[in-house]
Amino acid sequence: MSENIFTELYNKILGLFGQAAPKEDSKDVAVNRLRVVLMQDRTNLTPELLQRMRKELIELLSKYVEMDKEALELNFEQEGEQMALMLSIPVVRAKDEEEIEAAIKAEEEAKAAAEDSNSDDDDELDDDLDDEEDDDFDDDDLEDEEVEDSENDSEEVIEEQVDPVEEEKPENKKDKE
């Protein structure tokens, strides 16, 4: 919030000297919005699949950092010719080594257990993984920890681009925040 006030003020002062930040033409807004919408249309990713992807990413990253899950943003963006999937995660707290190791160990154990029970039934592997997600994810111990610590306001933002081809452009991120 306070940042917005400052940028507004900054623009106003600039405006006094006749150098206001260049006004974006409405057709540029249309072109940019269309590009994002078309990228989503063309990926065949339904909202359910995006939701699932988001959930899986949270699950994966929660092993290493503690994040504000509500504020996690997952968006498609256009960077030149390339389409990029932008993931923005406000980090609440870095995890210490023991926590990370424990999380990895717990995951490996769960995986081994799943493999044992499915070793003779490959066809149902996918379904079983789905179930496992639904059962385990919400009451995961990682999640509980985070709820407790969520008041911690020393937030630091990690931005990760899932698209491996693209390079990160820090200016874009700042705009978004």
């Binding site: 033409d25 409405s26 057709k27 249309a30 269309l34 919408v37 078309l38 249309d41």
Partner: protein, 273 residues
């Protein structure tokens, strides 16, 4: 003779498919080609109105399919141009009355007798679209420089690309307001072409003449002074393989505003003196 079967489609409704069909058909017929137009928008037929033929329809495409008449009997000749025919849609039936195979069969029969078979496609991407596309080998995708129309055009292009029978498709940008594009208040032709990465076959300027010509049931291509009519005649030329340069409406708009500004300054000075 084996004519070309071109489907005119858009996804979104109200962008000017039927108007485009009537005008391209009329322009091709004026150029001496034998043209038949098929209205496949069963239950919502309109092509007859744009051509002023609504009172001459006896049989429709459904009558042909259900063998109440011969195909030839159902073709309505245009008032002015004997090269131009219409196969009307049935107004009382729905999209299920004609199947993909039946439409393809009709197209195949007609292309033996005509140079061009233009298929007017209903809005949407459901069965009506699938039917209309079934007999065609080329497509013209009509869009306007608005977000919703461009998005739907993108969807249609995706569906056309998946169809083996469609060998090529071109984009027709309708209702173009060059003054708004010049002032960047509307997407320009370059923006639309870049977003859809499709080849343009024409740009039709927004023209009030379209409304008055529709009122009279007379396609605007017959009006020598209409900007949209001129643009549609150019589209017909390009369909026939002639390389006609695109009219630069932006430049024309800029020039005309410059002239206006010049005169208004002149007038002001005159008043002051």
């Amino acid at each position: 003779m084996s004519g070309r079967v071109i489907v005119i489609t858009s996804g979104k409704g109200g962008v000017g498919k039927t108007t485009t069909n009537a005008n391209i058909g009329t322009a091709l017929a004026r150029a001496g080609k034998k043209v038949v137009m098929i209205d496949t928008d069963l239950g919502l037929r309109n092509l007859d109105l744009l051509l002023g033929l609504e009172n001459r329809i006896v049989y429709t495409i459904v009558d042909v399919v259900e063998e109440r008449c011969k195909l030839k009997q159902a073709l309505v000749k245009d008032k002015r141009n004997p090269n131009l025919c219409l196969l009307a849609a049935a107004q009382t039936r729905d999209k299920t009355a004609v199947s993909e195979e039946q439409l393809k069969e009709i197209c195949d029969k007609l292309k033996e007798k005509f140079d061009f078979v233009l298929v007017d496609c209903p809005a949407g991407i459901e069965q009506g679209f699938q039917n209309a596309v079934a007999g065609a080998t080329e497509a013209i995708v009509v869009t306007t420089p608005e977000m919703s129309a461009v998005r739907d055009a993108d969807r249609i292009i995706g569906l056309l690309e998946a169809k083996e029978e469609i060998k090529s498709y071109k984009l027709l940008l309708n209702r173009y307001r060059s003054n708004m594009a010049a002032s960047k208040d509307m997407m320009s032709k370059d923006d639309v072409v870049e977003i859809l990465s499709a080849e343009l076959i024409g740009i039709i300027p927004e023209d009030t003449g379209i409304i008055t010509s529709t009122n009279k049931g007379e396609p605007v291509v017959n009006d020598e002074n209409s900007p949209a009519g001129r643009a549609y005649r150019n589209v017909a030329e390009r369909i026939m393989g002639n390389d006609v340069p695109f009219i630069d409406f932006e430049e024309e708009a800029k020039v005309s505003t410059k002239i206006k500004k010049f005169f208004s300054k002149f007038l002001k000075k005159g008043k002051e003196n």
